[in-house]
């Protein structure tokens, strides 16, 4: 589904991602861990098409298409979803309306009819219930004044509404309290299928207890320095990153 080949990328001429290769297949869950500033979010932004970040060499192929040649909106419509580490606040844009517009943009792309507000409201209520979100978040403006945890829940709500093929969740677990983490993780698990894939960026083993990864990668200074299975995450939690980053 996703093939990253020797990707080099950065911002303003500074290289941050320094040769990453990663292959993700349908149905898989990958976890990316690594110290602060190692380039995890940068990789996520490159994947989602942020205009400030530039890939200098390498390739990203998604479903046979060259992702780097696509706009952010095209990537989204093709089925890539990015759950941001720091979701942007958009005052003045109603949350429920925004979600409906995003949902309909995807439907139109798929050649389906737009959903009217009433029908959408039903779908939205169901997804919000799944994530333990109160109704009031429909009326609120998009992430405007949301707490850290509320913003993360709202990201997962968007994922639930958009039903992407590939989701990248950048530290969705930070900011969530223990109960919220469990509920959100269960929600994410419900959205999983053998046709979609998940990349989790996290610092904590805790999340991986709920959403079991098939692969764990350690990113350090813009490179994947170690890959393994879930056991690697457990080891990292007890020993820290030093033993992998210095061993390289």
């Amino acid at each position: 589904m996703l093939e990253i080949k020797d990707l080099h990328a950065g911002v303003d001429g500074t290289e941050i991602v320094k040769g990453i290769s990663l292959s993700v297949n349908k149905g898989e869950v990958h976890a990316i861990m690594g110290p602060n500033g190692s380039g995890k979010s940068t990789l996520a932004k490159i994947l989602s098409g942020h205009p400030a970040y530039e890939a200098t060499s390498g390739e990203i192929i998604f479903d046979g298409k060259n992702l780097l040649e696509m706009d952010a909106e095209e990537r989204s419509l093709a089925g890539v979803f990015m759950g941001f580490q720091y979701p942007v606040e958009v005052p003045g844009v109603n949350n429920a309306e925004f979600l409906r517009m995003a949902h309909n943009a995807r439907r139109v792309k798929a050649g389906e009819e737009e959903v009217d507000p009433l029908d959408f409201d039903e779908l939205l209520s169901e997804k919000m219930k799944m994530l333990g979100m109160e109704k009031k978040y429909k009326e609120r403006n998009l992430n405007d004044g949301f707490s850290g945890g509320e913003k993360k829940k709202n990201e997962i709500l968007q994922m639930a509404i958009l039903e992407p093929k590939l989701s990248l969740l950048d530290e969705t677990d930070s900011g969530l309290d223990i109960d919220a983490l469990r509920i959100v993780s269960e929600g994410v698990n419900k959205l999983r299928s053998e046709n979609n894939a998940l990349i989790l960026i996290t610092h904590y083993q805790r999340l991986l207890d709920y959403i079991k990864p098939d692969f764990v990668h350690v990113l350090s200074q813009g490179k994947i320095v170690k890959s393994g299975d879930k056991a690697l995450a457990i080891e990292l939690e007890s020993q820290g990153y030093d033993w992998v980053t210095t061993a390289d």
Binding site: S48, G49, H50, P51, A52, D71, A72, E73, R75, S76, L77, F81, M82, F84, P87, V88, E89, V90, P91, G92, V93, F98, M101, A102, A105, R106, K109, Q158, L162
Partner: protein
Amino acid sequence: MSETIVESTEETAFLDLHKKFVEENKSSSALSAIHESALSRFEMLGFPHSKHEMYTYVNTKKLAATTFAVSNPSAKIDLIEKHIYSGCENSCLVFVNGVLDRSLSKLKDIESSVKISSLEEKSDTDTLLESVENENDVFACLTNAFCSDVTVVEVPDKGQVAVPIQALFVSTGNTSLPEMHSPRLLWKVGKLAEVKVIEKFVGMQEGYFTNMVEDWRVAEGAGVVLTQVQSDPFGAWNFHKTRVHIKRNARFHSANASSGSVLVHNHFEVRLEEEGAEVILNGVSVLKGKEQVHNFIRIHHEAPQCISHQHFKNVINDEGRSSFDGTVIVNQGAQLTSANQLINNLMLSDDCHADNKPNLMIFADDVKCAHGATIGQIDEDQLFYLQTRGLSKKFAKELLTRSFAESIVQTIQFSEVVKELSNTLLKKLEVENV
């Protein structure tokens, strides 16, 4: 050099026009007194030169140099129904070329609760004269000098006006010889009375100068909700002075939506005269082409524990131009004042222009005041975020600009006006290069 005031040709032209106006209009003695007083004020102030405090950001040279005819109030007009808001069909005052037209006005729903007259009572004339003598805005002086009538709208003590009153200002316009219209109103809102008013400005064609002044006297405990909708064609000037005096515990909440023209000037002068008075002034404009909207605001906190809020937003594209010059003056003794003032400009092109001068002058020590002004472009991070959810760049930009302006539109309490503005003012944002 002699000490006598030597008028420039521009002022002389208006003085000559005034002579003609006086000859052609038989005014009552009360009105004549107002005209006379206003004319001497006009001569004293003169048209703005480059450093004029009130018109620092507004170029009025062309307007002052234009040859005007005085309006023709008996002009035939048609199709005003489409400008009357639903709910105001039987509570609308229609002004044609600046003068109240009794036959077009429909007052059935407010006959019993509101009194509408011309200057009849001596106390009204006195109120007006005081206002005229203290007028510092030279264009407002012109209104006072050229008004052929003063419409006095009175809501008695404890009066509750069940339906909103609409005041519609229609100009016929004359492209070969532009006309000057001088609507002059006095609103008297009695103790504990409540009234909601929508003022709307439209023109049948270009070529006119609506130069309006309205005085509001809001008595103790009264409440006023005022909405002003400016939607003149591009080639029409609209100058509008709103002067408000607010007594103890009374409220005056207003929202102004200006769609701009060759020159729109909104001037608010508000005096919070007694304890607990409150004013809210909101404003929004969406400008394209060479449209301009300028706001000039002076709020005087003259008593303790008064509240003033101002929030103005402008979306400016192409070569549009706006300015905000607002000062809150907190007098000595106006303790526990709460005042804030916020101006946000969203700039959509390289050639648009916005001037901002928010200002606080505080002479009391125990006050809570805040002010700020922002000038910004569309937030790139917000734009990107929306795009990552599958919204096209064009649509996302439109959504962001629209929501920027909408937050003020939504403060308007009349859903009919909100609905209309969504299809007019906010529609202006749906252009290819936004």
